[in-house]
């Protein structure tokens, strides 16, 4: 068994976990598809590209990177609140399809913003210590850097799982998802929950954007990559955070295998083919709830 294959799969799965979390967080709160998420990921990675050096010989210290990340997360929280207040909240009470169309419009607005500020830009974000790793035998050397996405992905994922399972706010989100009007009648502020969810989604998008930017080229093509995160969310079950990890592993494994043994271009379509197959067999996703689909 080729160890690099496993590393590639883990790397891709980590990125998919990060990219799909934003979709699930919003769906859990409002039963709306958040199509703006790829745009948020892209915006974050371009901002990261602007701030962090692109020179591999002379990368900045870890401290500066962490401060940048912290500032961007704060910015992400504010952006999430703004998006909810000015784009999503005005549509409350209208049909869900118009809210989805709104997130779609937001995606294209974000794409336009990126296109206007950084026309045709692309590049890497350089991290220090990219060559640190461990020797397995004479020929294989695993870089810790390659394991960054799965580690970050798992940490963020675990944090969100614990948030929904244990915290009061997380419980409220679940209550709103279950039945928003009943939850409102029990004294839960729905707008507050929506705003919190959007803030979480944007922060997850920031983390995803930064992580992807250190691993692969940042360009407008990130939107397409992040849309594949959508398929992960669906395969796992749109309302199931727990299902993301196995779904990400499944899709990443199939995609890496397709790149390796079949064809580079077809690998782009693999997540979508997996999605169609899974939805045919289990329409509610591998770990979603059945009643999710049947509920009136």
């Amino acid at each position: 068994m080729d160890i690099f294959l496993i590393v590639d799969i883990l790397k891709l799965a980590g990125m998919y976990i990060l990219m799909s979390l934003g979709f699930v967080v919003i769906y859990k709160a409002s039963h709306v598809l958040n199509l703006a998420q790829p745009g948020l990921v892209m915006l974050a990675s371009f901002i990261g590209l602007q701030v962090l050096p692109q020179n591999f010989e002379n990368p900045t210290s870890m401290g500066k990177i962490l401060i940048t990340l912290a500032l961007m997360i704060v910015g992400g929280i504010i952006l999430g609140l703004v998006v909810y207040r000015y784009f999503i909240q005005p549509l409350s009470g209208t049909s869900r399809i118009s809210i989805v169309l709104m997130t779609l419009a937001a995606l294209f607005l974000l794409e336009a913003v990126v296109d206007l500020i950084w026309p045709g830009d692309s590049g890497f974000m350089a991290l220090p210590g990219t060559t640190i790793g461990f020797q397995i035998n004479e020929t294989t050397y695993i870089r810790l850097f390659d394991l960054l996405p799965p580690v970050v992905g798992l940490v963020v994922w675990l944090a969100l799982v614990l948030f929904y399972r244990l915290s009061r706010q997380g419980m409220r989100v679940q209550a709103v998802a279950e039945n928003s009007s009943l939850a409102a009648r029990r004294g839960i502020n729905i707008n507050h929950i929506g705003a919190v969810s959007w803030a979480i989604a944007v922060v997850v998008g920031v983390i995803a954007g930064m992580t992807i930017g250190t691993q692969s080229v940042v360009s407008t093509l990130i939107v397409g990559t992040a849309l594949k995160g959508f398929t992960v969310a669906l395969v796992g079950g749109l309302d199931s955070i727990e299902g993301i990890v196995p779904a990400a592993l499944l899709i990443a494994a199939l995609e890496v295998a397709t790149v390796r043994w079949i064809d580079q271009q077809w690998s782009e379509a693999v997540p979508f083919i997996v999605l169609l197959v899974v939805l045919m067999i289990k329409p509610w996703g591998l770990f979603g709830r059945i009643e999710e689909l049947e509920r009136v």
Binding site: L33, P90, L109, D115, W266, A269, F272, L276, P283, L293
Partner: protein, 374 residues
Amino acid sequence: MSNLKEISSKLRAVTHGSPYLSTTYQQDSGLFAPSMKRINFIVLLVVFIAFVPYISSASILSVTNFSLIAIIGAVGLQVVTGMASQLSLGHAAFMATGAFVSTGMFFQMNLPPWLIIPLGAISGMILGFISGIPALRLRGFYLGITTLALQAIVGVACLKYQVFLQTRYGTTTDLLLPQIRAFGVTIESSKSWFFFLLVVSGLSVFFVKNLSRSQFGRDTAAMRQKEVVAESLGINVAMVKLRAFAIAGFFGGLCGTLQTFYFRQASIEDFSLTVSVKYLAMILIGGLGVVSGAVYGAIFVTGATFLVGEIISRGGLTETLGPKSRGIELAVFAMMMIVFLIFEPDGIAGVWTRVKGYFHLWPYRYVSTTRAKR
């Protein structure tokens, strides 16, 4: 004798009747209310449109032709997203299918263009039918996402096919499609294209408008209100969705085929996800679920895109803004979508109804536009 009486009474209904007063069931289910005013308006409109190619410049004529092609696609999307209320993110996939099937049919099977165009539309319809099959098991947005999957898969397949065609038959100039020749007429100038497209898109709009009063149209209207209730009333919801997707696929394929023949070339970049969203923006801006809304929206979005380019080039901003034109175009249509969503959810069709109602009912104030909205 009684026949004559019938005809004269019908004529009288047209010339003197009110569009708001129906006295027979036949009138009630008619496509257009019998009204002399309306007939006059339509005749005037047709006469005006027929003169467009003679009074407009070449660039305006080409924008008009683009709009006419867009109307066909938008009307198709209106059936599935507007009428049946199923989010479709893969409309460009139907267009791509039509485009590449017709290209393939010409280069590999050497069929004549007049046969290729309907076959391209039918290929789109078949794909629409296939993409609707998950509807048998899926509900709500899950179905919408399968259309996104369709967009991705068809995109890759068409890219592969394009590369195959290019390696086999040569690049750009060799892959030009022929002009359409049928019944001794060649469609080559933009003027002749205008009349051809006018007929095709007019027929498409008429077909979909007529559809909205058929059994299928009433089923979709019930489904739009509440799927479960519609099902309990005996409507086979999955079947309705399947048919909606097939019809959308047909018009998508027709739109893609015509676009390919208009440009005389198919390129996969013309059928990206952005295009799908552009068509969604059209029906959203025009008015979701209203057939005439698709027409307004298609004209509005195509015209706005053209206007932005025109302002940039006329205002001498080409040096500063030229490289950013794609971003500006995206920003303009994203902003249009957002503005319409927040301030005018009924779209241009809603504005039109309200303005018309305001003048009609003046000095009374209240005009209802909530008819068949969501």
